[in-house]
Amino acid sequence: MASVSSFRQEFAQQPWGLWWIQAQRLTRIELRRNLFSWRATWIYALAFIPAVIIFIHLVAETHPAFAMSDDTNVLAGIVQLYYIRLGVFFGCLGIFSRLIRGEMIERSLHFYLLSPVRREVLLLAKFAAGSITAVLLFGSAVVADFALMYAGYGAAGRDYIVNGPGMGQLEGYLAIIVLACLGYGAVFLLLSMMFRNPMPAAMLLLGWEAINPVLPSLLQKFSVASYLRHLMPVKVASEGLFALLTVETEPVSGWAAAVGLLLLIAVVLCYSCYRIRKLEIRYTTE
């Protein structure tokens, strides 16, 4: 009981206000570097390629009302098969592995480690900045995809969005994108601290995510994509080649999936905080 009380006292005495200010400022610095850098160009391209294709589809083809359900399925496929499996995956790999490992390679991480900022604050601020970057890019890309997909249907499209299930689907897609960015971001941030070159580990993770639907249910819990699959507002048809990537497993409620993924992210971040406290830089071997 005494130890709980002393822990509470110690907890309350920590400079939370200073840490919050430092985290905000670090996040702002990292955001500036993430968003307004030529190195981010390929991530912009990765996010907005589907929007360009959908725009061509909008301009080049007619949009009879009966085709709307097909386009809805196509959009669901783009989110599940392109964004979750590839776009957000590789985008987050690019953004988050640069945050720590990139700075070690550029030999500039010591400026942060030598500043009077707790390493946990540094890590969480970098994670926040990476997450905001990824969510801004991929979230706006999904909104653009959605708007372009239904723009061709005129009044019917507006009615589908405003009065039909359209807006709910968009919210669902955005929630998935946010969770995907957080989930993959946390994992890649950790991998970038564990490995000098996180790419092989990322490829293993990609393979793991691909075979995850056919694994036992316990192992499915260690996958970002498996949680996200349960949150999809529109189910992608399990036909042909897509069947491998869209295998339906045991049903899980949306809330359970979201909470499960957030727990997974929390665990990964806690371990990352532990890792960064032990982190030593030897630039000569990087």
Binding site: Q22, R39, P116
Partner: protein
């Protein structure tokens, strides 16, 4: 405490101003105060005009200065500089040394880790010689030299008859080595007892045997002491 690392690398795409300002903001300072301190730090290292340029376009000397500005911007009492003179051209080196001395005069404790012992010698009040992680000597450089009894001290004497001076010193059995300068204007003499040496030299000068122009210790600098203590040309910290 301020720290200036030896690594000549910076966060990508950053300007001199951003580098210092961001660092101050991470201390938790108010923005107005961080702006004032950034301006002050940049002026102290004479980088005000280049502040808005990207560091990637700075010369080596300017990069050294901006790192120094970042280390002193928050007015630390102790400043630790790791190899601050590495790779600098003579002009930048002289400017840096002048700045370190100025910071010292302003009351800052400046701790310099360097392998360039000649310059350490010029700017240090106290030296700490470390090799292989072990402390081998500490203190004022001249005091340290005098405590190295097993190595006779070398003194340069410029005079009109160096050969006479050398022979006189040997005749009273004091010096252990003499080396005449090739131009005949002086002699290096080695002695095991520097105090007695100066006393004898005064006597010789008073006799009028030689006309002495310059007397200067030739090996009580950090480099010589390091070589005596470590026995190599190796590095010191």
């Amino acid at each position: 405490m301020g720290y200036c690392a030896q690594f000549d690398y910076f966060p990508r795409g950053i300007t001199g101003w951003q580098f210092i300002f961001d660092s101050l903001m991470l201390h938790g300072m108010e923005k107005a105060m961080a702006v004032d301190l950034t301006i002050d730090a940049l002026e102290r290292v004479q980088l005000g005009d280049a502040a808005r340029r990207k560091i990637a376009g700075y010369s080596k000397g300017m990069r050294q200065k901006v790192r120094l500005a970042q280390a002193i911007a928050h007015h630390p009492r102790v400043l630790v500089l790791d190899e601050p003179l590495n790779g600098l051209d003579p002009m930048a080196r002289a400017e840096s040394i002048a700045l370190f001395q100025e910071l010292g005069r302003q009351g800052m404790h400046v701790v310099i880790s360097s392998h360039i012992l000649d310059e350490v010698d010029r700017i240090s009040d106290r030296v700490i010689l470390i090799t292989g992680g072990y402390l081998v000597a500490e203190g004022n450089i001249h005091q340290v030299r005098q405590e190295v009894h097993e190595k006779p001290m070398q003194v340069l004497i410029r005079c009109d008859h160096p050969e006479l001076l050398a022979s006189r010193m040997f005749s009273i059995n004091h010096c252990v080595e003499a080396r005449l300068l090739t131009d005949g204007t002086g002699v290096f003499l080695r002695t095991g007892d520097i105090d007695q040496f100066y006393s004898l030299l005064n006597g010789i000068a008073a006799e009028g045997l030689v006309k002495i122009e310059v007397v200067a210790p030739a090996d009580d600098d950090a480099k010589a002491i390091y070589q005596y203590l470590i026995g190599s040309e190796g590095s010191a910290s």
